[in-house]
């Protein structure tokens, strides 16, 4: 037990970085853990019915299980980096799950979208966690939460921004909400799981978890309330307008997440109790409804609400579950949804900016009421409509989950306080506040919240009945709004264009451009450094006429090679340079070097003469402009080299090593030719490498000349 939090497991993971692989359980983790594992088991059961004969079902179960474990790890983590580990694992596993239908390009695209948005947020979160670790002096969550809080830290601003980025992307808060409906590309069990108890709740969990450390400031409240409210209202409007039941559910998920986020903006126990309770509410009915929609899809072959009707007779169990779950969603008593909604209003009233928050909550809840009506009534009641298959009830595995969860909503609604009271309470006292939690009661008295509930139902009922009018009113507005999803595509296109442009500019495939860049960089690096450091230069002209002549014809030889169109003239010019350099070697008292130079020069000329037979003539193709640019760069590098050599020779040479060679060449190495002794004894290792170079050069040349050409990239 650490500060009342039972430690599950702790391991020094990267002690030098202060990171441990540690887990703990408290009320908050417990609620999440129960939802994750409880709903998770039902989802597994459901999946066996839904897709048990899918050829890749094994992989599916593996991914889903990995995902569940990741979620559990996330909510149980006691170390920020541990938390981040599981946070990222949920991104990977959800990526694999969303793209499970991998032959479908849409699924792949949406998986990528989810991945990039959540992983992008994840990276922000990482930075936030690192800063939190720096500000709090460690990554241990228990210590951070019981500590003084980071609200006064100089890093608070960046931390907040980064953590919220992480949480909002994961929980699909506006403006990062667009990935979530697209994640419907996943098989229904995945959607049911991701959208109810897991993935999207991770962000909410994080906000709740870090509330004590980061919450309570103006920035926190305003940001969370605004993002939450906008998300809730916008997504509930959108939910109304979906014809695909699954899409409709997806948008209601956003509404719920928005609401919870909005409530987490508050500092008072009512708001937080509401947040936690509504989280449970939502998990129960949402998982149930997703599974219901899956069952409808399975039983009829469609999820389009316009093409469904009167299924109640053919699919009675599904219908019952749907109705029960929708009651909870609509917030009607005696479902837990009622209590949740009551608490929302009660909580909202305690928050700063209460009127606005309440208005948002009422709007969203009324819309939710209408959506619940649509989902519960239209497919199952009224006149039967012909569907792609003849409607039939799903197998029991697919019914167990929705029924159990829908009934659960009823049971915990009726027995709210005994069943949930202590759990919610401990979540709050343990994790969020030292304050007491509010009670969970079906009847909390004739209060403000009750009035708002009635108002909600009234507006909701009106919206349901006038849904066509609502559509004509809302659709033009929605159409005129920029679609973030389409924006995502254009963003990606822009990004790809940017990448392509950059690559076209840099990686042109033109070697001269590459070389020019390299030499220009060299000139710049050396030139700027010369100006920066101003090395000492000591020009001192020699008097030897012979040396002047030698240098003169050497330079002239280079000039011949410069622009000639004759191969032989170039070879001869370079030969002249070789001769000149050899003469300078002679002049400098280096017979071995001069001999080698002359031998190498001869063999180079020989090889060139052989090669020239197999090569075409020379042509200068450069424009005048290019020639100027190339000339400038060439001269600049040359000048830098000269300056460097001059400044090297400006001060006397430390001859310690040479003296050692001179003194010991004979005594210790039995040789009179010091250069050779250096080569084969003092620095034999250089020579060893050198002979390998020459040998391998010949191997490479042999291969390049003799290996038959093969096409292919």
């Amino acid at each position: 037990m650490v500060d009342g939090r039972p430690v599950l497991f702790a391991l020094d993971w990267a002690p030098s970085l202060g990171i441990s692989l540690a887990f703990m359980v408290d009320g908050l983790s417990l609620i999440f853990g129960l939802l994750i594992s409880g709903i998770g088991s039902l989802i597994f059961l459901y999946a066996t019915g839904y897709m048990g004969n899918h050829p890749q079902f094994g992989r599916f179960v593996l991914f889903l299980f990995a995902f569940m474990v990741s979620m559990l790890g996330l909510v149980l983590a006691r170390d920020l980096i541990t938390l981040f580990l599981f946070w990222e694992l949920t991104s990977i596993t959800s990526y694999l799950l969303i793209g499970f239908d991998h032959d479908n390009p849409r699924a792949r695209r949406n998986a990528l979208q989810a991945m990039l948005v959540t992983a992008g947020g994840g990276l922000a979160l990482l930075a936030g966690f690192i800063l939190m670790g720096t500000a709090a002096g460690g990554y241990d969550l228990a210590e951070i939460l019981t500590g003084p809080g980071l609200q006064d830290s100089s890093l608070y601003g960046p931390i907040l921004v980064l953590v919220l980025l992480g949480a909002f992307t994961k929980s699909a808060q506006f403006p990062f909400h667009f990935w979530l409906p697209n994640a419907m590309a996943a098989p229904t069990p995945v959607s049911a799981y991701l959208h109810s108890a897991t993935m999207v709740k991770a962000g909410v969990y994080l906000l709740a978890r870090l509330h004590p450390a980061l919450g309570g400031t103006m920035a926190w409240s305003v940001t969370l309330a605004t993002a939450g409210a906008v998300t809730a209202v916008l997504s509930s409007v959108l939910a109304m307008r979906q014809s695909d039941l699954k899409q409709a559910l997806a948008y209601t998920t956003l509404m719920a997440l928005g609401t919870i986020t909005m409530l987490l903006a508050g500092a008072h126990s009512y708001a937080l109790t509401a947040a936690v309770t509504f989280l449970i509410v939502h998990s129960l009915y949402k998982a149930s409804l997703f599974m219901v929609v899956g069952a409808v899809d399975h039983g009829t072959g469609t999820r389009e609400v316009e093409r469904l009707g009167g299924l109640g007779r053919a699919m009675p169990v599904t219908a019952a579950a749907a109705v029960l779950a929708c009651l909870s969603m609509a917030g009607l008593p005696p479902m837990i949804g009622w209590i949740g909604k009551e608490l929302i209003y009660a909580g909202a009233a305690t928050m700063t900016g209460a009127p606005l928050v309440i208005a948002a909550a009422v709007t969203a809840n009324a819309l939710m009421f209408a959506v619940a009506g649509i989902i519960a009534l239209r497919p199952f009641f009224g006149a039967p409509i012909a569907t792609p298959h003849v409607p039939h009830e799903a197998p029991w595995q697919m019914l167990a989950g929705p029924t159990v969860l829908a009934l659960g909503g009823l049971v915990v609604g009726v027995l709210a306080q005994p069943l949930l009271g202590s759990v919610v309470g401990s979540a709050l006292t343990g994790s969020l506040l030292q304050d007491r939690a509010a009670g969970l009661h079906l009847w909390a008295g004739f209060n403000e919240a009750f009035v708002l509930s009635i108002l909600t139902f009234a507006i909701g009922a009106m919206l349901y009945t006038m849904r066509d009018r609502f559509a004509t009113l809302v659709d033009p507005v929605l159409r005129s709004m920029p679609s973030l999803d389409a924006g995502w595509d254009s963003f990606l296109d822009w990004f790809r264009d940017l990448a392509a442009w950059q690559t076209r500019v840099l990686q042109t495939g033109r070697l001269t451009g590459y070389m020019l860049a390299v030499f220009a960089v060299t000139a710049l690096a050396l030139g700027a450094t010369i100006l920066h450091g101003r090395p000492v230069i000591m020009p001192e002209l020699p008097r030897s006429a012979f040396l002047w002549l030698t240098v003169g014809f050497t330079a002239a030889g280079a000039v011949v090679a410069l622009n000639t169109h004759s191969r032989i003239a170039a070879i001869a010019g370079i030969g002249t340079v070789g001769i000149g350099v050899a003469v300078i070697f002679i002049f400098a008292g280096a017979p071995d070097v001069a001999t080698t130079q002359l031998m190498v020069e001869t063999l180079s000329a020989v090889m060139f003469a052989i090669a020239a037979l197999r090569l075409p003539g020379l042509v200068e193709r450069r424009s005048r402009q290019r020639q100027l640019a190339h000339g400038a760069v060439a001269l600049a590098v040359g000048l830098c080299v000269t300056v460097m050599v001059l400044s090297v020779t400006a001060s006397p040479l430390d001859r310690t090593i040479t003296q050692y060679f001179e003194e010991n060449s004979y005594v210790l190495a039995h040789g009179l030719n010091i250069v050779n002794v250096v080569l084969v004894d003092f620095r034999a290792f250089d020579t060893f490498g050198e002979l390998i170079v020459v040998l391998l050069a010949s191997f490479g040349a042999y291969a390049v000349l003799k290996r038959k050409g093969r096409a292919g990239a």
Binding site: L603, M607, R614, H670, N676, V680, F688, L691, S698, A701
Partner: protein, 133 residues
């Protein structure tokens, strides 16, 4: 290259190049020369031969694939470096056997390795170039 003068000249000049290259190799420790220069000169001899008689004839005269000669040179150089292990000395430490005026050493063996490697490498290069059409 069809020239009587060249082919007669090449016959003895190749031998002369080879002889001279060995001389340069062996006295390199005390005068200008050594394995590199020696190898270059020796190879130049066979290059001349290939000019006069053709690459095929030069390869035959050489008997061994020049790449193999080069690799043997490398092997000899490695072995001379490893030899000092026998005397528990650092790698590439010269072991000397000095008999009066005659000095035999692993250092010389190393230089012979260099010679062969350079010799083989250059002939590999030139022959391959020659055989390319």
């Amino acid at each position: 290259m069809n020239s009587l003068i060249l082919s007669v000249g090449a016959r003895f000049l190749t031998a002369l190049f080879l002889l001279f290259s060995l001389f340069v190799l062996l006295r390199g420790h005390n005068s200008p020369g050594g394995g590199f220069i020696g190898g270059l000169i020796g190879a130049a001899g066979f290059v001349l031969y290939s000019f006069a008689a053709g690459v095929e004839a030069a390869r035959q005269a050489l008997r061994v694939d020049p790449r193999a000669i080069g690799v043997w040179g490398m092997a000899i150089a490695v072995l001379s470096g490893l030899a000092s292990a026998l005397a528990s000395l650092d790698p590439f430490t010269g072991l000397w056997l000095i008999l009066a005026d005659l000095a035999l050493s692993t250092v010389l063996v190393f230089d012979i390795g260099v010679y062969l490697a350079v010799f083989g490498a250059i002939l590999t290069l030139v022959f391959a170039l020659e055989e390319t059409l």
